[in-house]
Symmetry: C2
Subunit: 212 residues, 2 copies
């Protein structure tokens, strides 16, 4: 059985070598390339078949790991990419996952965990440290419709929907077969209920608080 091919992108030489050693000592795994910068890996990826897995540091010199991740995914969409980094701030995690990372490990992970993570992505999983998984779930709660109830009526929500979609009052009137004046009145009521007094305020509030 062909071994699982793995590339490393990591600028710390000692850590890179240690990691390559760990991988090569594992059964059925081969660290076939190791780079210190994304650019080098991207160059080679253009010319040779992609590996099964890339272990990627973020916080590299040159182009950022996140940007690199996006480019890797463009060139080799089926290669699994596992982030391996010291950064655990929400933004980094969020952006990496949005860009298509298949896993996110912190550098304090033991060699066994890293090997297990590689097996896990290939089995269709998504390896993460405990604290990363926790952050990830926390991020979801932010999408929760906070749903302050401003007491909008059915019709008012409908008008709001149309405003958000970019129509003018006159266009809304035409679309809903009611007069301009009616739309205007509804707008007045919406504005007063949402405590705003400009169209931009209404729309921003609608988006930010998921009223639509």
């Amino acid at each position: 059985m062909a071994p699982i091919t793995i590339w490393l992108v990591e600028d710390n030489v000692r850590y890179r070598n240690a990691l390559a050693g760990v991988i090569n000592r594992a059964e059925r795994m081969a660290c076939s390339q190791a780079f210190s910068r994304c650019e080098e890996a991207l160059d080679l990826l253009q010319q040779t078949p992609p590996p099964d897995v890339i272990l990627l540091d973020i916080g590299l010199p040159g182009i950022s790991g996140i940007q690199g991740l996006e480019k890797f995914k463009q060139i080799a969409p089926t290669t699994y990419i596992i982030i391996l980094t010291v950064y655990d701030d929400n933004d980094k995690v969020f952006n990496a996952l949005c860009a298509g990372a298949s896993g996110y490990l912190l550098k304090d992970s033991t060699p066994e965990k890293i090997i297990a993570a590689i097996d896990e992505v290939l089995a269709g999983g998504a390896p993460m440290n405990m604290q990363i998984a926790h952050k990830v779930l926390e991020m979801f709660t932010r999408f929760k419709p906070a749903q302050t109830d401003y007491g909008l009526t059915e019709r008012e929500r409908e008008i709001l929907q149309q405003l958000v979609s970019g129509l003018t009052k006159q266009q809304i009137a035409d679309k809903l077969y009611i007069s301009f004046h009616t739309v205007n009145t509804h707008c007045k009521n919406i504005y007063s209920k949402l405590h705003v007094n400009t169209l931009s305020g209404v729309i921003s509030k609608a988006y930010r608080e998921h009223l639509i």
Copy 2:
């Protein structure tokens, strides 16, 4: 050391009893209550101290597990809630996590995994099955800013930012110490680059395409 108190909400009697047995046989854990419906658990939660962890099925008779979850969180925000269910469709997972679940296990999990999951939430983790974790990461890729590049300049992005925040052109001019006319010109250019011709259109596009 006081045992970890756990409540079960699960309508299948046999599974419920089996699970309670598993938990009670574990060290330092006690399944102090078991319910077949959310309503009962909610009633008791109003009257007695909350448990450390609730294992919650979704797909119950009466109010849905998701709604129940929200109410549990309102009454006892610090109690960890782990979803334990047969459902693995994106919507259920997404809604449960948005509502504040601390973990999501499928019912094919072994007793050991379930016990380990309880330990994991208490240690600040977020236990998930492999396939759930994978789904979760997939959901993130959907938030990826599609990032059409409209070629906005630095200044134009700044003006756009202010528009989105709800300021009028005059207010923006005052804030950035430039004349109303300049802001107006920038707006004209933004409108033309984004192919819109109303303020609402600009703001909606900015939100929808994550230009801000």
